[in-house]
């Protein structure tokens, strides 16, 4: 015991310095989190201004939610997310590799970096309102199309499932591709120049270099991007909420999980809302786990399985 005391341990200072954060986290995040889970087992809402509950109901909320349209809204969320995410990651990868390519010598690189990031600075609700006005049946997009002679009758963009979903996806793409581009650019620039020079010397084509060198080397950041995008996607609500006035029109096809949650909060239904949050929590946990496993299978830094298999191989050789 005494011996251990004598050894100098600076590690504890680290703990001490991060203590304030953990204390605030505990008070402002962990306790509400635990409360959310607790209330998910209660019937607790307001009818008019009369409070009902809290009354313990066991897993009734969980069963009720599964029987409701929750799965459908999860599907909506997924579709809206994919419509936005696929172009987002493709364009971001393309731009990132262009911007970080030494040979391309793009002029005004800084300027374009700022421009692609700009949409992210606008508040989502303001952005949604702008699109709502632009794509409304009497809006500028329709007037332009009509005066160009492309269409005769105004198109009811927000009245069709395809139109609404495309607009939501497009807006999410616009808002987030700049952010992803910057992130991926940082990742690509982190790769040693030597490797790129080596590929040039070996006569690598540009596509080969991208798929066989750049992409594998930025995998950890790519995984991070996908995970954050998934979590962000699960929480998507601001754009469709404003665009459809919280109704998820038409026919609730653009109702996302968080909009569903908001509907419960209109009646201060803490029980149901808590249950939905717990479901969301598990869902995002599972999704993140899958992505993490998928992208890190061959990453020697992270995956223990890889280290194990390598050790085995070494032993066999030895």
């Amino acid at each position: 015991m005494k011996k251990k005391r004598k050894s100098i341990n600076y590690g504890k200072w680290g703990y001490i310095f991060i203590l304030p954060f953990f204390l605030t986290f505990f008070i402002f995040s962990l306790i509400p989190l635990a409360d959310t889970i607790r209330y998910s087992f209660f019937e607790y809402y307001r009818s008019g201004i009369k409070e009902v509950g809290p009354r313990f109901v066991g897993i009734e909320n969980y069963v009720n939610l599964l029987q409701s349209d929750m799965i459908r809204y999860a599907g909506n969320t997924l579709i809206l997310w994919i419509i936005g995410f696929v172009p987002q990651i493709v364009i971001a990868l393309l731009l990132a590799s262009w911007f970080s390519d030494m040979r391309l010598k793009i002029h005004g690189k800084q300027f374009f970096k700022v421009v692609v990031y700009l949409p992210n600075l606008i508040m989502a609700s303001a952005f949604a309102l702008l699109f709502f006005t632009m794509f409304s049946t009497n809006g500028p997009i329709n007037s332009i199309l009509i005066s160009m002679g492309a269409i005769r009758e105004p198109i009811d963009f927000m009245g069709s499932v395809f139109g609404t979903r495309t607009i939501v996806g497009f807006m999410n793409f616009l808002m987030w591709f700049g952010n992803t581009t910057i992130m991926l650019m940082a990742a690509i620039m982190g790769i040693s120049i030597d490797i790129f020079e080596a590929t040039d010397l070996d006569g690598c084509s540009r596509t080969q270099r991208f798929f066989y060198v750049t992409l594998p080397l930025i995998k950890p950041i790519l995984a991070y991007t996908v995970i954050t995008a998934i979590i962000g996607g699960l929480q998507m609500f601001d754009v469709p909420q404003i665009l459809t006035n919280g109704q998820g029109n038409p026919d609730r096809t653009s109702m996302t999980l968080i909009m569903f949650l908001n509907n419960h909060l209109k009646s201060k239904n803490y029980g149901m809302a808590g249950t939905l949050s717990v479901y969301l929590f598990f869902l995002s946990g599972i999704l993140c786990f899958i992505v993490f496993k998928m992208t890190n299978k061959n990453d020697p830094d992270v995956s223990k399985a890889v280290i194990k298999s390598k050790k085995k191989e070494q032993r066999r050789r030895g």
Binding site: S47, I49, K50, S136, N138, P250, D251, R252, S267
Partner: protein, 476 residues
């Protein structure tokens, strides 16, 4: 050991200062507020003496400055209002503090609910004394089980005597299920058909309100007029939502009867759905307008629009139609609607637990029971007010005309409608029902979903909004 103690102390200090930082930032504005209030109170106490039991601060919850301007106009105790409109000083030295939250998205109700629930524990000067409610959700607050709005008799107002000249339906609306009146309004909102004179001349050859009125006496007759309008390329109304109030306010039974958890959809609502579908399919509405209160809807009130008319009460003409109209004034006229209806109206309630019952009584009486005051409001703002004899006098007043309506006296048309309104029975669930039935059936009118799917969507949405609703019954 010593080291540990020191480090522990440091952490404690850091954390405390951090939390203290949060705390003080949140508290300081309130602190300075009370200080301010104290100082102003101190200066005024010397000059005025008020009733011993009455509090010094009257907190009024409302959603815009309309009520404040009305109070300033007719309440004779008002001295002045501060420049930012948050505090009005009265002659006896007490102050009205205006707490304004926007009505949109239920913000007002959310804030009001919070303070009403905590009313019993609040300090005397922080208690809500008077609050306003709209017809759509008045029942939520007059509900006797909720008990947040004081019965008028407890304030010393005898509704049968003091409010005898009010329109009966406004008194019914402000009463709980036992018929005890718990609120009072200065407004009466009978709705009319407002139409464009130029379109009327083009299609019917006349813009005379009497002649047009004959063409719109009921829905069947009006359909013929709609067909004529369509023949000349005009739309009768802007949107299917425009006609909703006429049907929705004449339901025979409330959406939810007291004590039940079942929503009963009234036959009138089904009539609205069927008629609207027919009208949408026939092209009598402007197909590009979805619902109300959006930009597309506002645009149909402009001079470029092909929409013949709107169904509006007095406030709709002044605050919605007039600002959106970009042509010359005098282009519109009013006539009787196809069905008598009431739309809107703000009710004044005294909050249970108020420390200013005397002031609440005075304000309610001054604003809703004084014929001279109500005439004054009507003359100044062309608001149709809640006094039968005053309105009858104005209706026959030759000099009382509206420039916007081309010299017509709208009150001559409002008054008979107001007499005939039979207000629909209310429930605490009305706002959600009205909002959601329009939304979910919007998809049906536009051909996005089948009728049964729309019904199902309404059931889903309404049960989300009101967790205690267990069933929705549709008429056969």
């Amino acid at each position: 050991m010593k080291k540990k103690l020191v480090s522990g102390l440091i952490t404690a200090v850091v954390t405390v200062s951090l939390l203290a930082g949060c705390g003080s930032a949140a508290v300081s504005p309130a602190e300075s507020d009370t200080k301010e209030a104290e100082t102003t109170e101190a200066t005024e106490e010397t000059e005025a003496v008020s009733d011993a039991d009455e509090g010094k601060v009257i907190n009024i919850y409302c959603w815009n400055d309309e009520f404040r301007t009305r109070v300033e106009t007719v309440y004779d105790q008002v001295v002045e209002t501060s420049e930012d409109g948050t505090v009005t000083t009265l002659k006896d030295g007490s102050e009205i503090h205006w707490v304004v939250n926007p009505n949109q998205d239920g913000v007002y109700q959310a804030k009001l609910d919070e303070v009403l629930i905590n009313q019993a524990n609040a300090a005397a000067d922080d208690k809500v004394d008077i609050f306003l409610s709209e017809t759509d959700y008045v029942f939520k607050y007059t509900d006797k089980d909720a008990g947040v709005a004081m019965p008028l008799t407890d304030l010393g107002i005898d509704p049968d005597k003091d409010l005898a000249d009010q329109y009966d339906f406004t008194r019914t609306t402000a009463s709980d299920s036992d018929g005890v009146q718990r609120g009072s309004t200065w407004q009466c909102c009978p709705g009319l058909l407002v139409y464009r004179r130029d379109i009327a001349k083009d299609v019917f050859g006349t813009d005379d309100p009497e002649e047009i009125g004959k063409k719109v006496t009921d829905w069947e007759v009006m359909k013929a007029a709609a067909e004529e309008l369509k023949g000349k390329g005009y739309y009768t109304f802007a949107s299917y939502a425009d006609t909703f109030r006429l049907y929705g306010n004449s339901i025979s039974e409330s959406w939810v009867t007291s004590g039940s958890t079942t929503i009963k959809v009234d036959q009138q609502i089904m009539n609205w759905i069927n008629d609207s579908k027919e009208w949408v399919d026939s092209g009598y509405f402007n197909p590009t307008v979805k619902g109300q209160w959006n930009d597309d809807w506002n645009k149909t009130m402009g001079s470029q629009s092909k929409v013949f008319g709107f169904l509006f009460p007095a406030w709709g003409i002044d605050f919605v139609l007039n600002p959106n109209w970009d042509g010359e004034s005098g282009a519109w006229a009013v006539t009787n609607p196809p069905q008598e209806y009431n739309w809107g109206g703000s009710y004044i309630h005294a909050a249970t637990g108020t420390d200013n019952p005397q002031h609440a009584k005075d304000i309610i009486l001054a604003l809703t029971a004084n014929e001279d005051n109500l005439t004054k409001i009507s003359k100044e703002t062309s608001d149709f007010t809640n006094d039968k004899s005053a309105m009858a006098a104005l209706a026959s007043d030759e000099n009382f005309t509206s420039e916007f309506l081309g010299g017509q006296n709208p009150f001559a048309k409002f008054a008979p409608v107001a007499e005939n309104i039979k207000i629909a029975p209310l429930s605490a669930y009305d706002q959600g029902c009205v909002e959601l039935i329009q939304n979910t059936f919007g998809d049906y009118f536009q051909g996005e979903v089948e009728f049964d799917k729309a019904k199902q969507n309404f059931e889903t949405a309404i049960m989300e909004r009101y967790p205690d609703i267990t069933e929705v019954q549709w008429p056969e």
